[in-house]
């Protein structure tokens, strides 16, 4: 199966580990990975700040970049959702709306792709330790991917899993919200970190680079001994 990877800018620039893990994992599951070079940012930061006009250029670029892809897989629920959102942004546009619809139809978040398309729930991963999982808002509420990460994590050998209290609550990232409303964002991420601590977990796992950068950054600043892992890294560990 040919998979075109939409890596996201955060992964490209700051978390190449996540990208590497995604590639290795998918290859092991029998996929052939292609990374369209002309991919840029999906436009979400500008779009979510109200700069729809500015973000449209990036969106068009992404639509073109992935136009020949068979499957598009993205290791971030929020960015995958953004691809699904394009069709609404271009609503009524005779040229771009149909293209955006096509893009949405073939775009999957990583765990969703593994469970729903590859039909795999046990990827043969092993990781010793106590873990909890942050269900990112865009991934669960907007993209609607709720079960897939849980199904996959359940089958990771050695992982002792505890549910995160208040798991449905936002971590306070929200893109530019985290700097624009820093005061409020701080309270939100603090509560999240408290909840993570309550679980006594060694690992905080998530499927969205943005949330992880936020919670992880706060955990680091507070000097807590909790390791933050992207779910691709967990599923790729053996």
């Amino acid at each position: 199966m040919r998979v075109s990877l939409f890596a996201t800018c955060l992964v490209d620039l700051f978390q190449s580990n996540v990208g590497k893990a995604t590639v290795e994992l998918l290859e092991r599951l029998g996929c052939e990975i292609d990374f369209p070079e002309s991919q840029v940012c999906c436009g979400q930061p500008a779009y979510n700040s109200g700069y729809t006009k500015e973000s449209k250029e990036a969106m068009k670029r992404m639509i073109d970049t992935f136009k020949d892809a068979e499957y598009i897989v993205c290791p971030s629920g929020s960015c995958a959702f953004m691809f699904h959102e394009y069709q609404h942004v271009f609503k009524g546009d005779p040229v771009w709306e149909p293209k955006a619809k096509k893009l949405a139809q073939k775009t999957y978040e990583l765990t969703q792709f593994i469970v729903d398309v590859l039909k795999v729930e046990d990827v043969g991963a092993r990781l010793e330790g106590k873990a909890t999982y942050h269900t990112s808002c865009h991934m669960t509420r907007l993209l609607g991917v709720k079960e897939a990460p849980m199904k996959l994590l359940k089958n990771v050998k050695g992982l002792d899993f505890t549910e995160l209290p208040g798991k449905e609550q936002c971590c306070g990232f929200g893109g530019t919200f985290s700097v624009k409303m820093a005061q409020i964002s701080e309270q939100m991420v603090d509560e999240k970190v408290c909840h993570v601590e309550e679980t006594d977990a060694d690992y905080l796992i998530g499927a969205d680079a943005g949330c992880l950068m936020n919670i992880g950054g706060r955990i680091d600043r507070k000097g807590k001994p909790i390791k933050v892992l992207h779910i691709a890294e967990v599923l790729n560990s053996r």
Binding site: L13, G19, S49, T52, R141, A182, Q187
Partner: protein, 474 residues
């Protein structure tokens, strides 16, 4: 109380909220408790999504045909002997009500909870007329005797107050001598208010849902205060936002069910009162005269535009109870009588962007509000729409942000620029690096790194790794 409840800047209000420990404890336990109750009440039905879709289709149909239903309603109210006044502005509404007060030479007025009368500052107008105005909802009553403290929640207005504070207010203002036990406080209020109902000249209510087919309207309470307000005084005035209407009792029933489950997790509240006209000829209780005031006050400007769906709102506050921002800043931070997500969407529409321009940004767009809204208002999308309007039509975004976004537009859309920019990032960031992280970031990163570490850019971008790997043959 006008819609705007504070002259402080948004940041100051938020800061006050964040430092109010009691309020934050109260709000988070209220959110947790009410959130669970709401979820149970929704899930026990087994087909909640159908209920929401039904609520949505009813509300959308009504808004699309609003002029028709308001005409039908007013005809039917008049047929039953009620008087209907259509008020395009709050001044018109207040003038009309003032006229009734003068005609009746009213001295004492009892009210049951109504957001729209808060919105038009009716109490202030009545007090200027020399009337004693008494709020009878327990929460509102507490706020009122505490020198008009503004409400902080649509359904539980005095949520920000603890029982000791309430006891102190009762002691000071009502000569109360008992403890801070909620039962004793409530009993005292009951006793005080009983006398007020019996001696009031006018009763004023809001309206949960008007019913066009019969000219009726419904009031939803747990305390039973609306029943007393409408049964005892000789004159009754009901003030409704023009969109709070349904075709028949059957749709009213659905929306009442959605409201009580979403607001308080109850199948129905203790009192749902459906009133039609003034009392009938031989009846003893009920008003002799009934006035319905239908208020626009900016609502019609929302019709037909991209924010129309906000008028589907049934004021259940489920979105408020689910909102993580409200959780930490509380109701007063919004600076509007309408707090939480619905407040962030509605306040700029009714009160203008100048007053409420920060509110659409006070959201992480997490979608928790949209998920719980019983009439499927896409709240987080509407917040996003506001941002778009602020940037594109109102031109109210900061210049620096505009420039940054312009650059973003260029950079993100152009693979070449993106490549150059991202290649340079590690070098550009290197002065700020502290190992693999940045603890004191420049420019826009500063706000981030005041709270959290920021990762230093990878030395090798993912795309370079991938390319090398391809070329190197794995």
């Amino acid at each position: 109380m006008p819609m705007k409840i504070s002259n402080e800047q948004f940041k100051e209000r938020v800061s006050k909220g964040i430092h109010d420990d009691f309020m934050r404890g109260a709000v988070s336990s209220a959110q947790d408790g009410m959130g669970v109750k709401r979820r149970i009440a929704a899930e026990e039905l087994g087909n909640w999504e159908d209920w929401r879709s039904h609520g949505e289709e009813i509300r959308q149909h009504v808004l699309e045909n609003l002029d028709y239903y308001l005409e039908q309603l007013s005809n039917n109210v008049a047929k039953r002997g009620g008087h209907v006044f259509f008020a395009q502005t709050k001044e018109e509404a207040n003038d009309y009500i003032r006229g009734i007060v003068r005609e009746k030479q009213a001295k004492k007025i009892v009210k049951s909870k109504s957001m729209v009368t808060e919105e038009i500052s009716l109490n202030h107008v009545l007090e200027q007329e020399g009337c004693e105005v008494i709020e009878t909802d327990l929460g509102e009553y507490i706020l009122q005797i505490d020198d008009h403290d503004p409400p902080s929640h649509i359904v539980v207005p005095a949520l920000h107050k603890n029982k000791e504070q309430i006891r102190d207010v009762f002691t000071e203002k009502l000569g109360y001598t008992k403890t801070s036990k909620p039962e004793e406080l409530a009993a005292h209020a009951r006793e005080k208010l009983r006398q007020e109902y019996l001696t009031a000249d006018i009763g004023i209510t809001g309206c949960n849902f008007a019913v066009a087919e019969t000219g009726s309207f419904s009031l939803v309470t747990n305390e039973g205060n609306a029943d007393l307000v409408t049964a005892l005084p000789k004159t009754q005035i009901t003030v409704m936002g023009m969109e709070r209407i349904v075709p028949t009792f059957e749709e009213m029933e659905v929306l009442v069910s959605l409201l009580t489950r979403s607001a308080v997790g109850q199948k129905l509240t203790s009192y749902i009162t459906v009133l039609t006209g003034p009392k009938e000829e031989l009846n003893v209780d009920g008003p002799e005269e009934f006035h319905l005031v239908i208020v626009d006050n900016g609502r019609s400007n929302i019709l037909g535009g991209e924010f129309q769906s906000v008028l589907q709102c049934i004021r259940c506050a489920a979105c408020v109870n689910a909102c993580p921002v409200y959780r930490h800043v509380g109701g007063h931070s919004y600076g509007s009588i309408y707090a939480g997500p619905i407040g962030a969407v509605l306040s700029p529409l009714l009160g203008g962007y100048d007053e409420f321009k920060e509110l659409p940004y006070a959201s992480s767009l997490c979608g928790a509000c949209t998920e719980v809204c019983p009439v499927k208002i896409p709240l987080h999308n509407l917040l996003l729409k506001h941002r778009e309007v602020i940037v594109e039509k109102e031109g109210k975004a900061p210049i620096s942000e505009k420039l940054a976004m312009k650059a973003f537009g260029l950079g993100a859309a152009s693979p070449t620029l993106y490549k150059i920019g991202s290649k340079l990032a590690p070098t550009a960031m290197s002065p700020f690096k502290d190992g693999d992280k940045i603890s004191k970031g420049p420019g826009p990163l500063k706000a981030w790194t005041e709270i959290r570490e920021f990762p230093a850019p990878n030395k090798e971008r993912f795309r370079d790794w991938f390319k090398n790997r391809e070329e190197g043959g794995k």
